[in-house]
Amino acid sequence: MPARAPLLPAIAFAALAILFGILFLAAERERAVAALFVVAAAAIALAARFGAIDRVRASIRAHESLFYAALVLGLLAVVVWFHDEHFVLLMVTTSLLLMVAALGLTVQFGFAGVVNFAGAAFLGIGCYTAAVVTKYTALPSILTLPLGGLMAALIGSILILPVLRTRGHYAALVTIAFAILFKTFLEVNDALGGPQGILVKPITLFGWNFNQPIKLGPIEASFYVNYLVFAIILLVLALVVVRRIDRSWIGLSLDAIRLDEIASASHGLDIARWKILAFTLGNFLAGTAGALYGHVLGFIAPNNFTFGDSLILVSIILLGGIGNPWGVVVAAFIVVILPEKLQIIQEYRFVLYASLVILILLFRPQGLLPRPLRDYGLRAGRSA
């Protein structure tokens, strides 16, 4: 057995990534932001040139749990650093929740090959579930998260039949139609607030209202810290589930039906069963993220869940690398934070996304972080 890769590169990489994140979030002026971007690109190019990337990758593979722990600690450091900056915290929370939703799309599209151009609609189902549950029922508001996920999975099951019976472009059209119908449905439905939107009450947990600022002695932290910490927990859970699916026989079956349905059927794989599982799980993740997103926003309207927003989710997985959960993490960060930081492009952000996606598809179709081969989480199974 080869010697175990050292721990240092993984930890150093995690520290650098977090440090870069903090600098990036803290950068106020557009020149600073642009400079940081250039520095990062140069650093990555240099690291690739000198083989550092391979060393980091080997190190992460050898010490996976420690690396993840370091990242979570780093995220908590981000929380502490920006504890009183509403806007930064909101931005980071939004990007984490979009990561969760995009992880859902990764299971659907990246693993099982089921296209879903209605990601924002499923996110919206979660949001509206949160609004309705807190407005009309006395259920504990924390339950909106699983309920949002369940609602998304349930409403998604309307789409299962057409999605199973169509393929490729046609399946895409079915979900596009759903995305548009969903928004129209919200606009004409008065119980859900119509085009004006609806208020989402804050989460209260054991008498603690999430919309209250946190006071620790002399320090007062923004109430967004509550939500951000919650979003971190949700993201970690989603990542664990998606990674484990990827590294299991389930992930293998999903890959097989995506790549060749006839060969899969001839080896006993039940195509419908696996597609339904992937589609439902993906919608559940989007709905859960959506419920929390609704509480974070506090007020939601049909315009938050347009077809364009669904396309953003799709562009996140294309940009990050189809089927790679870590690609989603990097891409969601870029897609959410960059336009906020560069106010000039804010208005043109759809142009930016579109050109990014086109560039990626042309020059790096496997995405920023291409999906690696499945390794089942053991040392490649090479039993010594």
Binding site: W249, D260, A263, A265, L378
Partner: protein, 258 residues
């Protein structure tokens, strides 16, 4: 000898085209049967009907005593028939191990709880199957056994065929259908692969094989019995020598004597 696979009056029509015309086709336990015939004579269609990819228009298929007529491909696989495809249908971006495990579907635990929560037990199952895959692919080519974790896309055609046959064999089928395993290979490679197939039959006890093949040399060397199709009809059946002497077969392959 008892019939393992029996097709009676099997007919398959696509619109006006009769791809299989009342074919009677029997395979006995333990034999290697060659299925031959000119292009478009219905050989692959026969495989596709038996394995449930196309529904038959008429006729019955029984396998090991049970009726599998018009069954779904999944059911056919579970009942113990495995196959390879004429144009290799491997998942190219996946590793060799992953591809072989696709064929092992019925022997793997696909439970959500097992896969997501019982990771230790899962890891043990992966190790067990890894060793088994090493053993199986080792029959063909020991060099491949060391490269189980590489993507299939990087292998030449002959190795892909070997991987595909391994994928079919790993689930311990009783009947193996090989659809033109030598397609796209050189003479030398074809010979190698046929040696492999004979070796497999030696090692895997009780395996019955039906092979579609164009090269008569191969048919002569590896099969116990041949069935000849032409225009969807069975025109001849018997040992290679009998079949090769048959005037109808000669006509089908060489055209009518002037």
């Amino acid at each position: 000898m008892s019939a393992l696979l029996a097709c009676r009056d099997l007919t398959c029509r696509f619109g006006g085209l009769v791809a299989l015309d009342h074919v009677d086709f029997t395979v006995n336990d333990g034999e290697i049967v060659g299925l031959i015939g000119p292009n478009g004579s219905g050989k692959t269609t026969l495989f596709n009907v038996v394995t449930g990819i196309y529904p038959p228009s008429d006729g019955r298929v029984t396998f090991a005593g049970s009726d599998v007529t018009g069954a779904r491909p999944q059911t056919v696989y579970w009942s113990g028939i495995a196959r390879t495809f004429q144009r290799s249908r491997l998942c190219l971006p996946l590793s060799v191990f992953d591809n072989i495990m696709v064929g092992n579907h019925k022997r793997l635990n696909h439970g959500l709880v097992f896969n997501l929560l019982r990771r230790r037990a899962f890891a043990a199952e992966v190790r067990r199957n890894w060793d088994e895959a090493v053993e199986f692919i080792g029959i063909f080519n020991p060099a491949l056994a060391a490269r189980l974790d590489e993507p299939v896309a990087g292998f030449p055609m002959i190795d892909r065929r070997r991987i595909e046959i391994c994928r079919a064999l790993i689930s311990r089928p009783r009947l193996l259908l090989l659809d033109e395993p030598s397609a796209g290979m050189t003479h030398e490679e074809t010979r190698e692969l046929m040696d492999d197939i004979l070796l497999v039959r030696e090692r895997v006890a009780g395996l019955t094989i039906v092979v579609i093949e164009h090269e008569m040399g191969i048919i002569e060397r590896i099969t116990d019995r041949c069935v000849v199709l032409n225009y969807g009809r069975k025109i001849c059946e018997g040992s290679y020598e009998q079949v090769a002497r048959d005037p109808q077969v000669q006509e089908a392959y060489l055209g009518v004597a002037a």
